[in-house]
């Protein structure tokens, strides 16, 4: 993936050999939930080795749009800046990706005229590029994405695990909960619940949770279900996970479009997890039929 654009070293390292001096950036902004979104242009001085985070930092520090108006800084999420915390997902030039590993030099090769930055579309916008991704974590609760240990007292080591099993599990366990797979999935559609004036926080939370639970789980959660079902202790509640994976909003919604796997920044084999989940769900359904 990285080698797709073989940028010449000299071109990325020496300012002089790059033609662009100013990067034209277009940002889709929105002041708060329920407000109209609007485009805003920013000019950012080019520097070698920039990523989208440093572009946004410059926009925040300057707080002036390309047409010279003082504007509030664009809001966005980030933390680790090394593509491991999952905070900074956004659409850059129309593609869902992590802003911290989106390198300007490469984006300019794609399109030298401008860089377009938008918030994810499958999650409610909080402000500008900040979206509310709590549904993503709710899906992890739905599939019980944990090992059901007795507790944290000393009980000796965990189960023996072969290198092969570890090598299978590890990639699934590197999911950073970024939501790229959900943004790209045609079956995962936005659920936005607005709090009513007459509603308490608790009532609102419950209503929102119920709305989430009707929606599609998402590839990330299906993959986590498979991760924990494959673990010797995790597998002790495999049936409960399969039940979640086959209930409303479960795997039957997946159209196998495979968009998810193509955008996952961690190259997690999502379609393999989905196929496994499908097979396991079928077997489980048959087993239940006979157990009745």
């Amino acid at each position: 993936m990285i080698r797709a654009v073989e940028t010449d070293v000299a071109a990325t390292d020496a300012d002089s050999s790059v033609a662009v001096k100013t990067i034209r950036v277009r940002v889709l902004r929105q002041d708060a939930p329920g407000r109209e979104s609007y485009w805003e242009r920013h000019d950012v001085p080019y520097e070698p080795n920039m990523n989208i985070i440093s572009v946004l930092q410059k926009i925040a520090a300057k707080a002036t749009s390309a047409d010279g108006r003082a504007v509030p800084p664009v809001a966005w999420d980030c933390s680790c800046l090394e593509e491991v915390c999952g905070s900074c997902t956004m659409l850059v030039n129309g593609r869902t990706r992590m802003a911290c590993s989106a390198l300007v030099d490469k984006l300019l090769v794609e399109n030298a005229d401008e860089i377009v930055i938008e918030p994810m579309t499958k999650f409610p916008v909080v402000r500008d590029l900040v979206v509310d991704r709590r549904r993503l974590f709710r899906s992890l609760e739905r599939v019980k994405a944990w090992v059901p240990v007795d507790g944290s007292y000393d009980q000796g080591p965990g189960p023996r695990i072969s290198p092969k099993e570890q090598e299978d599990a590890y990639p699934l366990s590197t999911c950073i909960s970024c939501g790229c797979c959900l943004e790209a999935c045609p079956q995962f559609t936005k659920i936005e619940v607005i709090r009513r004036d007459d509603e308490s926080q608790e009532e609102f939370d419950a209503r929102r949770k119920a709305a989430f639970d009707k929606g599609f789980l998402g590839a990330h959660a299906i993959s986590q279900a498979m991760l924990f079902n494959a673990h010797p202790t995790g597998g002790m509640i495999a049936d409960e996970r399969l039940k979640a994976v086959t209930s409303q909003g479960g795997i039957q919604m997946c159209g196998n479009a495979q968009n998810c796997v193509a955008v996952c920044p961690k190259q997690i084999p999502l379609t393999r997890s989905i196929a496994r989940a499908g097979r396991a769900a079928t077997l489980w359904a048959i087993k239940r039929l006979f157990d009745r």
């Binding site: 990325t12 933390s79 390198l103 974590f137 080591p157 570890q166 366990s173």
Partner: protein, 668 residues
């Protein structure tokens, strides 16, 4: 409050393990974090986590040796009982994380695999691929999510801790926090508050740390009266990838596999590095340390790279300090097999393939050994008394600190892979201590005055917040002030420290703080206003910056990460054996004098004028007597010989010392 409730600030490894334990013990937990806890900075740790294990044990390793390595690596500047306790808990902690599903790498037979890290002879480090911190964090996050579903934990993600709330007697009764989306304030009454807010790398502008590592929570506790220990000890990692936004860690293993560090002899030679002939390259580590070459210890590598760029002006680039770390002489196949993961990081963020072009690297601030002063109760066997309400309590009763934000385990220098252990250990260990503290905290909160204390604190925070939003026409921009602070701190308080520079930096930081009061915001709204949140946390960086600078200024010696050339103790220069012997004796005399004077932790408390007041605390080194760290010193063998002779002559005395009680600062 009928049901006891604990407020935990921070959901990294430390905060999550405390939360898990408390929930398991039936205590309700409110867990507050700036970011969803799964995105905490702990996720960045790559290398691994240390513990004795059955394999190393058979090679002669023991908990005691892990304890000894940690104390020696930290240049003896930590109380020994907590470190001993931690080393003893190590095996249990790894077993627990294993049971929670962490995909540790495996041996062919299915046991956990281990690797060797710096500062030890044993393969003590368990690891999960190249993302051990991530895997440990996720396992704890999953358990806490399970308790959340059961209603035992309530998470408050995207919330900022603003101040601990203290009652008339000075006991912590909860905290005021702010919702980062709606900007609403909320009082959290609690039977105890645990700070697990991580490091403070952002004080240095850019570091290897995450953007949330502002140190703001710790600073707010310090400004409310909590003492801060050993602030001057900041670990700088020799090799990081300088980026405009962050300095990303480049693992030591690049040098371990044969990477060579060099600069062009012609300052800022503009040629493609591959075109520069061997003779025109300066392999300065190999030239200066023929014996160790590129694998000199971390602190030496850091200092030399820093020196060649700043003092000799041989940085590869003019505007940005860096040197080459060259792997291009190694075969692609070897590199991919041995270093695949870390080379991908370079390639991903620099857009350059380090297999064919030398990498550009520079040291970067990496870890804070210092942090909130915390107490402990020593047990008869020289460890900690489990469940004592004193363990991990700050100088404010009822306010606890764990993880990177306490000062407890790493002394003057942290060993690789020891931090993940101290974070999980302190999280698990603090839970029963906090629970025993409830008894001491009884008898308050029934009357009406408890409400008033919270109201007053909330009012104070609201007022402060409004004053930021309403400030107009200020000339200063918080983001550029942050850049300036980073420059000052990086120049004066990292690798090489000089008193004149530290003094000047202190004044500069004070001036910067004044200018910060002139900041005006470009966002004056009250919805997801990141501008005001950043400006507040910037303001809270100055008090800690002053603690670091003043601590460094006062400490006239070299210890661990704190290096002042003026007070360095050079090795042996003489050539005749007699002279050499005399020099070694003199070296040991000086070492003993220095130990007597400086084997003390600095303890900073905020003074009435806002400047830190620093006092010193003796270190409980009753279990392992301090000895010199001689690695890389000329004449080390002879000095060691003299040292051992002296120790042997003194054995009865040191046995007596072992019975000494720990000395801690008065505040208990």
């Amino acid at each position: 409050m009928s049901q006891p409730r604990v407020l935990v600030i921070g959901g990294g490894l430390a905060g999550l393990s405390a939360t898990m334990r408390l929930a398991e013990l039936g205590i309700g937990v409110d867990l507050v974090s700036l970011v969803p806890v799964k995105r905490s900075h702990s996720v960045c740790a790559q290398g691994g986590i240390n513990s004795v294990n059955s394999l190393t044990r058979q090679q002669g390793d023991s908990e005691w040796k892990h304890f000894d390595d940690t104390v020696y690596g930290g240049d003896f500047l930590q109380h020994q009982p907590p470190v001993k306790e931690m080393a003893e808990w190590g095996p249990r902690i790894i077993d627990l994380m294993d049971r929670l599903g962490v995909p540790f790498n495996r041996t062919p037979e299915g046991f956990r695999d281990q690797r060797r890290f710096g500062g030890t002879l044993y393969k003590r480090t368990a690891f999960a691929g190249a993302t051990t911190g991530q895997q440990l964090l996720y396992a704890l996050d999953e358990q806490v999510r399970r308790y959340e579903v059961e209603g035992k934990v309530k998470k408050w993600e995207f919330w900022d801790f603003l101040e601990p709330v203290l009652d008339e007697s000075g006991r912590c009764r909860g905290a005021i926090c702010q919702d980062l989306v709606t900007m609403q304030f909320r009082a959290f009454p609690a039977d105890a508050v645990i700070l697990a807010s991580g490091g403070c790398g952002l004080l240095y502008g850019r570091s290897t740390m995450s953007m949330v590592c502002t140190g703001s929570a710790v600073s707010r506790a310090y400004q409310s009266g909590a003492a801060y220990g050993n602030g001057e000890f900041i670990q700088v990692h020799p090799t990081a990838i300088p980026g405009a936004d962050k300095l990303r860690l480049m693992s030591e293993s690049a040098r371990g596999e044969g990477g060579r560090v060099w600069v062009p002899r012609i300052p800022q030679d503009s040629r493609d590095p591959r075109q520069i002939p061997e003779a025109e390259r300066c392999y300065f580590l190999e030239e200066r340390y023929p014996k160790y070459g590129n694998l000199v210890p971390r602190d030496i590598a850091t200092r030399e790279i820093f020196d060649i760029c700043t003092n000799e002006g041989l940085s590869v680039e003019k505007d940005r300090l860096c040197v080459y770390l060259d792997l291009t002489h190694l075969s692609r196949e070897t590199l991919d097999r041995k270093l695949g993961g870390i080379l991908e990081i370079y390639e991903k963020f620099q857009g350059v393939d380090p297999r064919s072009v030398p990498m550009k690297i520079f040291p970067a601030v990496h870890y804070s050994m210092g942090g909130l002063w915390v107490d402990y109760e020593r047990s008869g066997s020289g460890g900690m008394v489990e469940g004592s309400p004193r363990n991990h309590q700050t100088t404010i009763p009822g306010l606890y600190a764990i993880g990177e934000c306490d000062y407890q385990y790493h002394g003057a220098n942290r060993l690789g892979a020891n931090s993940l252990l101290s974070c999980i250990f302190s999280g698990l260990f603090v839970a029963p201590s906090v629970i025993s503290s409830f008894d001491l905290a009884r008898g308050w909160g029934g009357g009406g005055h408890s409400g008033q204390v919270f109201e007053r604190a909330t009012g104070r925070q609201e007022e402060r917040h409004e004053s930021f939003l309403s400030r107009r026409g200020g000339r200063e921009n918080p983001y550029s002030l942050h850049g300036e602070l980073g420059d000052i701190m990086t120049r004066a308080a990292t690798v090489v420290r000089r008193n004149d520079q530290l003094r000047k930096a202190y004044d500069d930081v004070c001036r910067l703080e004044e200018r910060w009061r002139e900041c005006s915001l470009s966002d004056t709204g009250n919805w997801t206003n990141q501008n005001v949140v950043f400006t507040k946390s910037l303001g809270d960086m100055f008090p800690i910056a002053k603690v670091i600078l003043k601590g460094a200024l006062l400490r006239d010696e070299c210890r661990g990460a704190h290096y002042k050339p003026e007070f360095a103790m050079p090795g042996i220069a003489a050539t005749s054996p007699d002279e050499q012997r005399r020099e070694a004796e003199a070296w040991c005399d000086r070492f003993e004098r220095n130990t007597a004077k400086w084997l003390k932790s600095s303890i900073a408390k905020v003074g009435p004028d806002g400047h830190p007041e620093i006092s010193y605390e003796d270190v409980d080194s009753s279990l392992i007597p301090p000895r010199p760290r001689l690695y890389g010193l000329v004449g080390a063998e002879l000095i060691e010989e003299v040292w051992k002779e002296r120790q042997a002559a003194r054995t009865p005395a040191s046995a007596e010392a072992a019975g000494r009680q720990p000395m801690t600062v008065g505040a208990g």
